[in-house]
Subunit: 588 residues, 2 copies
C-alpha cells in the first residue's frame, strides 16, 4: 500500500510568503485568516487524510462500488469514513457561512482538495461534486431554493451531481435528448438517460441533489435550447424533510480501469420532478460556473496523485539497492541505493519540480478565483476572471497529463514491483488516468483554450497575461537573473506561437486546431515556470531564515528551468507546422 | 472488445520492396523464400491471430491465470488455442529445420511476433520465452542436450522460461543468491527462489524447460560467478520421455495491472536437478544471447499493441459523431464524425507515422540480426552484430515507450468509453505498460546503450551508424530532398549529442547517466526517420505502380518529419544540461 504525508510545509510556505506578494491579491475579507489558523486546519486535514482516508484507496480498488437490487453500495469503510468526514465539517470548508459553511478561502480548500486527491480520489469524488453543485446553486438559484437545499449539502448530509453526458453526447452537449416538460405548478418532469454520472447513486447520504441539463419541450435544438434543472433523488418537502422517491433509477454502474471505489452511474430519469435553475435555455451558462471550478479541481486531482506517486518513489529509492553508482568503485558485488543513480535522481527531480511548481501556480489561481468572484472593484474582478478563465483549461489538462507522466515514471522506479498490485503504484497510474478524460478531455481543454480563452470579448487575454509576467520579472536581482533570462527566452517563443495561432484562428481554423495541444503545453510550462519565479523571489530574499528549505526550492527550480521548460522547443516546432497535410490525409 | 486486421499489405511492402535494397542485406539462404510464400504464411498467420487468439485477450483479462493447489491454470480457451497453435506449427517458424523448425528468416517471424502481440500479449508470452530458450540452448548447449530438448520445444510440446530475477536482484544480477551444487554425475542441484518468471508454470505443455542462472558453490561473488543451467520441470529420461517431477514448485503468481492471462510466477527451486549450459561462470554471456533477442521482441510487442490501439481508434473516429468540424457551417445541432477534427487527425497520424516507421526499422533490424548470426563474411557479420547491439536497447525502449503514448492517446480518442472495460482500449494501455519494465527497464536500456553500445571493443559504433546513414542519403532526388535536409539537421544534433556524451562517459559518468534517456530517444527518432527515408525512396520510385498506397506512405512520412522528429530539439536541450545540480540535490 502507498504511504502519504501531507506536504504541509510547502503549503504553509505558499500561504505565508506568497499570498500578499506582488501579482497576488488577497481579499480583505480573508486578511484575518491567519497562518496559525490555516496551519491548524491543514494539520487536522493531514490527520484525516493520512489515517482515515488513505486506506480507502486500496479498499475501493479491491472491492469496487456495486449495484445491487437497484441500490449502489460503496466499498467497505466508505460509510464510516464519510460519517466522520462530515462530522468534522470538511465538506463545508469553503462554503458560505450563511449556509453553515466555514468560509475559508479557496487557497485553503485547494490544499484540502490536493490532500484528499493524494489519499483517495475515489472517496473524494463522493463529496467533490457536492461542492460543484453547491457553487452552481449558490450562483444561479433563487433564495428559496438555496435555503431549502444548501444547508444540508454544506453539512454533507445530502450530496450533489452534475448530469450532462448522454450516450450520444459527451463533448458535444448540443446533441442532448433528455426532455423536460413544464407542469402547471411551474415544476418540470424530466425523462431521459444520463451516463457517466459520478456518484450518481450511493449509500453515503440521505439524499442526492442532481443538477441536470435537459431540453424543455418548447426549446430549440442545439446548445441554445438547454436549461438546467435541480432534480433530487428524494423529493424534499416544504419543511425540508426528505419525502418520497423521485423518478430516477440507476440503470447500471461502469466497470472501469481505475477509481473503482467511485460509482459511475447510468441514471434513468422517468418523469422525474425537477426545478429549473437560472434562466430558461441558458442552462449551459449556469452549468459552466460549476464546470469551470470543477475543471480546476480535476487539475488538482492530478497534482495530488502526483504527490503520492513522488513520495512513494522517493521512499522506495532510498530503500532499494540495485547496481553500483558511478562513485562506487568497490569490486565486490555490493549495490547502492537506487537514489544514488543519476537517472533515478533525474526522474525524482522531474516529478518534484513539476509538482511544486504546479502547487504554486494553483495557489495563485485559487486566489485569483476568489478575486474573480468576490472583489469589490469591477475591473480587478474582471481581470482576475479573465486570468482564471485562461488558466482553467491549462491547469485541468497540464496537471492531469503531468499526473500520467509522474505516475508512470513512479512505476518505472519500482520496476517489476510497480506493475504488481502489492505496492499501490499501479493503482495511482490507473486512478489518475481518468483525469485527462473527464470534465472535458484534454483535447477539448486545448480547443477551449485556443478558440475561446486567448482572445474574447474582454480583450486579448493572453497578451495581457504575458505582459503581466514580463512586468513582474525583475532582472536586476543577480540571483534570479539566470532564471529570468531563461523564462524570457521562452516567453518570446510563447509570444510568437500566440501571434501565429491568433492569426490562424482567423485564417485557418484547422491549423489552430491541430496546434492546440502543443500550445496548451507551452502555456502550461510558462505558467509553472512563472510560479517558480515567484517562489524563487521569496527563496532568495528570505534565504537566511530557512536555508535548507530555500536551498531545496532553488535547486528544484533550477531543475525545472534546465530540464522541463525546454520541452517548449519541440512543442513550438511541431505546433506551428500547419495542418494541410493532416486535413488532406485520406485514412483509407 | 477490440478488433484487429493484420497489416499484411504493409508487411508485404517491406518484404517485397526493401529486403534487397541498399543498406539491406538478405542472406543467400533466404533468397528462395519468395514473396508469394511469405504472403501465404502471413495470411494464415492473420487468420489464427484475428479469429482464434484475439478473443483470448479479453478472456485472459477477465479470468486471469490462477494458482490452484500448486498448479497454474491458464485462462479459459488458452489450452484449446495453444493446441491448434502448435499443430499449425507457429512455434517453429524461425527455428532450425534440423530440429523440426521451418527455417523462416527473422524478418518473417518478426511479422508474426507483431501480429501475435496485437492479438494477445498474454497468450503470446507462453510461447515467446520458449523461442528465447531455444535460441539460448541452440547457441550454447552441447549437441546431446540440443538433440534431447530442442525438437520438443520447436514442436511446442515443451515450453521454456528465463529464470533471472530474485527478490533482491532484478537489474543487478550480481546480487543473485540461487546456489548450484555439483553432483558426482556432473549434474547440479539448484536451490533458491526466482521471481517474476513469465510462464514459470502453466497447463499448456507437458514439460517446461527452465533456463536458470545460479551461482555454483565454488564460484566467486558478483556477476563473474554466475553460470547457466537447464532445469526441466519434469526430468527427461534418456529415451526422451518425460519422467519424474523435479524439485521446483510454484510459490505464488503475481496479481498484476495487466497481462493477466500470463502467469508470472514465484518459483522455488529445492535441490532441483539442473545441467550446466555453456562454460562455468560465463552464464550471463550465454543468457545475454537470449536476452538481446528477447529485448527486440519486447520492442515488437510495443509495436503490435500500438497497431491494435491505432486500428480501433481509427474505426471509432469514423463512427463517433461529436462536435462540428471547422468546415461545417450548419447552424443546427448536427455533429461530424470526430475524424473530421484536426486534433483527432493529428493524434491518429501521430500513431500511424510512429507505427509504420517502427515496423520498417524492425524489418531492417531483423534482417541485420540474421546477418549477425549467419553471414559467411566475418566482417559483414561483425558489422551487423554491432548495429544489432546498438539498436537492441533503442528498439526495446523506444517502441515500448511509444506503445505507452499510443495506447494512451487511443484512450483519449475514445473519451469516457476508453476508460471503461467495454471497449478493450484500457486493457491495451494496461497490457502494454509491462513492456517498458520487463527485460530490463527502459532506463536500464538507456544506460546499456550509452555505456556499452556506443563505443566498445569493436570500435565507435555510433559513429559508424551515423556515417552509414549519411552515406546512404540521396539529396540529388528532388522529391526526397526536403526529408533528407530535415534528417540531416537532426543528424547533426545527434552527432554533437554523441560527441558530448562520449566525452562525458570519460569525464563525468553522472552527466552521461542523467542524459541517457534523452539520448536514447534522440537515437530512436533518428533510426525511425531513417527507416522512413528507405520507405520514401521506394514510394517515389515505384509511385505509379500503386499510387494510393505510396501517397499514404509519403504523407505519413511527412507527418513524422514535421511533428514527431522535432521532439529531438527538447531532448538535446535537456539531455546536455549536466548533472551536478542533480547529484548535489539533498532529497531531504
Amino acid at each position: 500500500m502507498t504511504t502519504y504525508t501531507a506536504p504541509i510545509n510547502d503549503m504553509m510556505f505558499l500561504y505565508e510568503k506568497l499570498r500578499n506578494n506582488k501579482s497576488y491579491n488577497e481579499l480583505a475579507k480573508y486578511k484575518d485568516i491567519t497562518p496559525d489558523l490555516v496551519k491548524d486546519i491543514l494539520e487536522e486535514a493531514a490527520k484525516i487524510n493520512q489515517n482515515l482516508i488513505l486506506p480507502l484507496a486500496k479498499a475501493g480498488d479491491e472491492s469496487p462500488a456495486v449495484l445491487e437490487n437497484g441500490v449502489v453500495r460503496t466499498p467497505p469503510g466508505y460509510k464510516e469514513a464519510y460519517k466522520k468526514y462530515i462530522e468534522d465539517g470538511w465538506t463545508s470548508l469553503s462554503c458560505d457561512t450563511k449556509y453553515g459553511g466555514q468560509g475559508m478561502p479557496k487557497t485553503v480548500s485547494a490544499f484540502f482538495d490536493e490532500m484528499l486527491s493524494s489519499a483517495s480520489l475515489s472517496f473524494k469524488l463522493y463529496s467533490e461534486l457536492s461542492i460543484g453543485a453547491y457553487n452552481c446553486i449558490n450562483h444561479h438559484a433563487t433564495e428559496e431554493v438555496k435555503n431549502k437545499y444548501l444547508p444540508k449539502m454544506v453539512e454533507g448530509k445530502w450530496s450533489g451531481t452534475m448530469c450532462l453526458t448522454e450516450p450520444v453526447c459527451g463533448t458535444d452537449l448540443g446533441l442532448l435528448k433528455t426532455k423536460a416538460v413544464e407542469q402547471p405548478d411551474g415544476s418540470y418532469k424530466l425523462t431521459g438517460q444520463k451516463i457517466f454520472i459520478t456518484s450518481g447513486d450511493h449509500d453515503l447520504t440521505e439524499n442526492i441533489i442532481h443538477l441536470v441539463i435537459a431540453r424543455s419541450s418548447d426549446s430549440p435544438s442545439g446548445t441554445k435550447g438547454i436549461s438546467l434543472f435541480l432534480v433530487p433523488k428524494y423529493i424534499v418537502r416544504d419543511d425540508g424533510t426528505v419525502g418520497p422517491r423521485n423518478g430516477i433509477s440507476t440503470g447500471s454502474i461502469e466497470s472501469k480501469m481505475g477509481i473503482k471505489g467511485s460509482a459511475t452511474c447510468v441514471l434513468n430519469f422517468d418523469d422525474a420532478v425537477g426545478y429549473m435553475i437560472g434562466p430558461k435555455n441558458k442552462g449551459l451558462n449556469s452549468m459552466f460556473t460549476m464546470m469551470n471550478l470543477e475543471r480546476i479541481v480535476v487539475g488538482i486531482q492530478g497534482l495530488g496523485i502526483s504527490e503520492t506517486a513522488y513520495q512513494n518513489s522517493l521512499i522506495y529509492s532510498k530503500e532499494r539497492k540495485q547496481g553500483k553508482s558511478n562513485k562506487n568503485h568497490s569490486s565486490n558485488g555490493s549495490a547502492d541505493f537506487i537514489i544514488e543513480h543519476a537517472d533515478i535522481r533525474r526522474s525524482l527531480l522531474n516529478m518534484k519540480s513539476i509538482i511544486e511548481g504546479e502547487r504554486a501556480l494553483c495557489f495563485w489561481l485559487s486566489q485569483q478565483t476568489e478575486v474573480s468572484l468576490n472583489h469589490e472593484d469591477k475591473d480587478v474582478k474582471q481581470e482576475a476572471s479573465d486570468y482564471v478563465s485562461l488558466m482553467t483549461p491549462v491547469v485541468k489538462a497540464f496537471f492531469t497529463d503531468m499526473g500520467s507522466e509522474i505516475t508512470s515514471d513512479a512505476m518505472q522506479i519500482f520496476g517489476g514491483y510497480g506493475y504488481t498490485k502489492d505496492q499501490g503504484i499501479e493503482q495511482l497510474y490507473r486512478d489518475n488516468r481518468i483525469t485527462p478524460i473527464y470534465e472535458g478531455t484534454n483535447s477539448v481543454q486545448a480547443i477551449d483554450l485556443v478558440f475561446r480563452k486567448l482572445v474574447n470579448r474582454n480583450g486579448d487575454i493572453i497578451d495581457k497575461y504575458i505582459k503581466m509576467i514580463k512586468n513582474d520579472l525583475d532582472s536586476t536581482n543577480d540571483k534570479i537573473k539566470p532564471f529570468v533570462l531563461k523564462i524570457n527566452l521562452y516567453l518570446e517563443k510563447l509570444e510568437s506561437f500566440s501571434s501565429w495561432i491568433k492569426d490562424k484562428i482567423q485564417s485557418s481554423k484547422d491549423d489552430a486546431n491541430a496546434a492546440c495541444n502543443d500550445y496548451l503545453k507551452v502555456l502550461g510550462l510558462i505558467a509553472v515556470a512563472y510560479s517558480w519565479i515567484k517562489v524563487l523571489e521569496v527563496s532568495f530574499e528570505d534565504y537566511d531564515n530557512n536555508k535548507i528549505f530555500y536551498e531545496d526550492k532553488i535547486q528544484t527550480a533550477n531543475f525545472f528551468f534546465e530540464r522541463v521548460l525546454p520541452r517548449i522547443d519541440s512543442h513550438c516546432a511541431t505546433g506551428t507546422s500547419g495542418s494541410k497535410y493532416i486535413m488532406d490525409f485520406k485514412f483509407n
